[in-house]
Symmetry: C2
Subunit: 498 residues, 2 copies
């Protein structure tokens, strides 16, 4: 064979190790500098639509350029216009916990750049994922039925939404085994008015008629948790109409107000009616590693699946959602399709015991090596460090709650359970009808100050301000400053009205 | 207010900038070393199930530890057991292109750790995504109808599967506007026997009855592309049965053999029957940036959506899938659900023009800042560098194809179009029935050598070996060595039989 090398074939070397190290270290230093300076930026971006598009060319660049200028442009054009999720004064949504170990895990994941969709595509990446799921399940106090060692098992998704869709499809297809496909028109999904919107979106995505999604009302009397009676009433009414109860969602730490549904009691109910019970512990699941929060999941062994997002409050950079199921076979029989090119011909079928193909545990084929990120986080901080991370934020929230209670212009609307404080400004002289407008104004001026970013929710028709504590860099001084900021802005608003 | 600081609150500082820089640089150097040594490892892992689990503790660690020991364990326990997607001798599936710029982009994404799910949650991250979608669309030669500037628009997903599900749901719900929900039972999805399995999985996920998924046969006569006649026949037969043609998938570069469906003709057909046409260009979409491949998408303006995965062949680390649609409103009306806590109270509704909420363009709420990765890649390499990356791999594939043709023991099964070569070993003296077994054996011994990793597919009942060229570090010498390896192993297998 003497065919020669085609011209230009080997010119580009975009993974040259020396260049890789130099440019990547520059990027690391860029991020270290970002963390050092993060308090200089307004927490919530004030950028206007079109402001970046106007600065960038309409056309993609024809020629490449060195990394330094690119990083300088990220600093000049992008960073000032971001909403800073890692700011210590970020109290919106729920936390998105970056950490050094989570970042190192991302470096390993992105650098190794392997895709563990089948066993043979990445044997040890697959196996590490299984071990991590058992480790975290144990830390959270999940019973053996959710662990591989107990016949269940877990998988890493990118988001709760993906996890929910997979469980909805598993429940749907388990039910369709008894029904013809028309059965899909009769299936009903139950959630509370505090459940995450992902359940409604997920149910719609998998073909459940939107009119068969039940939103069960909660109330202050039960701290906005579901009651067994209310669910039973809804289920019985549907059965009487000839419908099929399919899936019930229980939440440990709802997004709006941090409410906790009675997991064990709902589990008994779900079993009685043959419904799938999913426990969404996206945010508060991390807190379960502290024994003092274990009561929130009493009876979880009666559930079919549980999910928790390490990218929220577990010192793990995005994205990462743990899903555990008691019956992997129900999940994989709903999600498994294997084209010829993914048939592994190197192992006989007898040898395949223990060879998990994670593509059958999720929506997509492609998947990142997220397990290595969790391995680094768990080893770098240990259970002790992760518990300390939870507890310091809970202590900060307790302090803020007490501070609010000590100022009679404020009300705490829902008893705090984790690190979320839901409150509103309520000067004595105001009638009910103006309180919402006042709080809307208060939230807007607090956020517009750039010194903190919070969002609101509405419960019992009340506009409520949410302070979700949990950013990695938040210290007590930020909580004190934020309380003073809220007091000061409330005073200004009060004076405006005099 | 004098309430004191609770004990232990501020002890942990997992984002201390100095510590962050030191540990992250160590991780960068680890990956640089991995790339330096990557050819030392067998490409495909030979690890057995349980081999890692046996080495790790059953219990999660109680105490944290320094990063050095963790990285040493990644080296000792994980790296040798991986299948090395970044090896220059990785020819399985399709490429997963890591690059320095893609990695720097991942560093920025993971370090900034923002979630652009709504405009207010990340204004400039949202806006950069829009600009990147327009840039890449232009580079690929997509018509204006897919660009924001032309009334369409794009979004970054993690995988084709997610993109496909979103378009299936959009098509489904657009059709349901004219039908009652029972209509879902009549909807039909069309794909070829070469289409990616994600379409079948996606259709099942969104509630289309599995019996309504049509797999249309392709043949060597049309290089395994769909023909308009075969699709029309299938559609007409379904209409005669009272079914509703919903969605047609065309592929530019199928996974099995790299086939190309006639996009423009299928577009006319889809318009005629009111079907949604999706063009899956996951792999070969990257090649469209070279004018010599533009003929593959002639008539794409008649499609409803197009997807392409930069994480395959566009020097972009996982994960990243571009989805463009001509009618964003159809997508968002199917995918939009906004709970109260995501209502942005800071901007009046009049101001919201141009404020994209990307949560309504995808399955999940949470999403990573993938746009910054593409910005770094596009600027670092420019269109010139990205085209050179495609062309050098295509040249290598041409060389391999010619080399096979020059050795009369081999057949090229499908004419090569991009960088995938599909071939088999066929010594003259062998009857048809033993050729499959020979090739199965050849593939197994090649892969077991550790010097290369390929996979197979089956077309026209033939077992075919796929050599998918495209790893970032692959140079001509690896292709020459791999050809010699294949020749050598084929000779050995031939001798065994004498």
């Amino acid at each position: 064979m003497a065919m020669g090398t085609p011209p230009l074939v080997d010119v580009l070397s975009p993974l040259d190790p020396e260049e890789f190290a130099v440019e990547s270290r520059a990027a690391v230093d860029f991020i270290a500098g970002y963390y050092r300076d993060i308090e200089k930026y307004p927490v919530r971006s004030e950028a206007e639509p079109g402001s970046l598009r106007r600065l960038l060319s309409d056309e993609p660049p024809e020629n490449g350029e060195p990394i330094d200028g690119i990083l300088a442009d990220v600093q000049q054009y992008i960073v000032p216009g971001l909403t800073h999720f890692q700011s210590p004064n970020f109290f919106a949504y729920y936390p998105f916990n970056a950490s050094t170990a989570g970042f190192v895990g991302e470096i390993l994941c992105a650098g190794l750049n392997v895709a563990p969709f089948t066993w043979v595509a990445s044997p040890l990446a697959t196996e590490l994922e299984g071990v991590m799921m058992d480790w975290i399940g144990k830390l959270m106090g999940l019973p053996d039925c959710f662990l591989f060692s107990g016949g269940g098992g877990g998988v890493l998704h990118g988001s709760t939404c993906e996890a929910v869709i997979c469980t909805l499809v598993a429940a749907r297809d388990r039910a369709l085994n008894r029904l013809t496909h028309e059965g899909i028109l009769k299936m009903v999904v139950y959630a509370s008015d505090q459940s995450h919107s992902t359940f409604q979106k997920g149910a719609k995505l998998v073909g459940i008629p939107p009119s068969n999604f039940r939103v069960i009302q909660t109330s202050a009397a039960f701290s906005y948790g579901l009651t067994v009676d209310s669910v039973r009433n809804a289920v019985e009414a549907d059965i009487a109409r000839g419908l099929v109860p399919l899936y019930l969602c229980a939440t440990v730490g709802t997004t709006g107000v941090g409410a906790v549904d009675p997991v064990g009691e709902l589990g008994e109910l779900a079993q009685h009616y043959g419904m799938w019970l999913h426990v969404d512990a996206a945010y508060a699941g991390s807190a379960l590693i502290c024994p003092e929060f274990q009561d929130c999941i009493q009876g979880v062994g009666l559930a079919d699946s549980v999910s928790m997002n390490p990218h929220k409050w577990f010192l793990t950079n995005m994205d990462c959602c743990c899903l555990w199921v008691t019956s992997p076979a129900v999940l994989t029989s709903a999600l498994s399709i294997t084209p010829e090119y993914l048939n592994d011909i190197s192992h006989g079928s007898a040898a395949k015991t223990g060879m998990i193909d994670y593509k059958d545990w999720q929506i997509a084929l492609t998947r990142r090596f997220r397990a290595i990120k969790l391995w680094v986080v768990l080893r770098r901080y240990g259970a002790v460090g992760l518990r300390a991370n939870i507890r310091r934020h809970v202590e900060m929230a307790k302090w803020f709650e007490l501070a609010l209670k000590a100022d009679d212009r404020f009300e705490v609307i829902v008893p705090r359970r984790f690190s979320l404080v839901c409150f509103r400004f309520r000067p004595r002289y105001e009638g009910d009808h103006t309180v919402d407008a006042l709080n809307r104004k208060l939230l807007n001026v607090v956020n517009a100050s750039g010194k903190a970013f919070m969002i609101h929710t509405i419960v019992d028709n009340k506009f409520v301000i949410r302070l979700a504590i949990g950013a990695t860099m938040t210290e007590m001084r930020h909580i004190r400053d934020t309380f003073e900021l809220v007091q000061e802005k409330a005073t200004e608003i009060g004076q405006d009205r005099d």
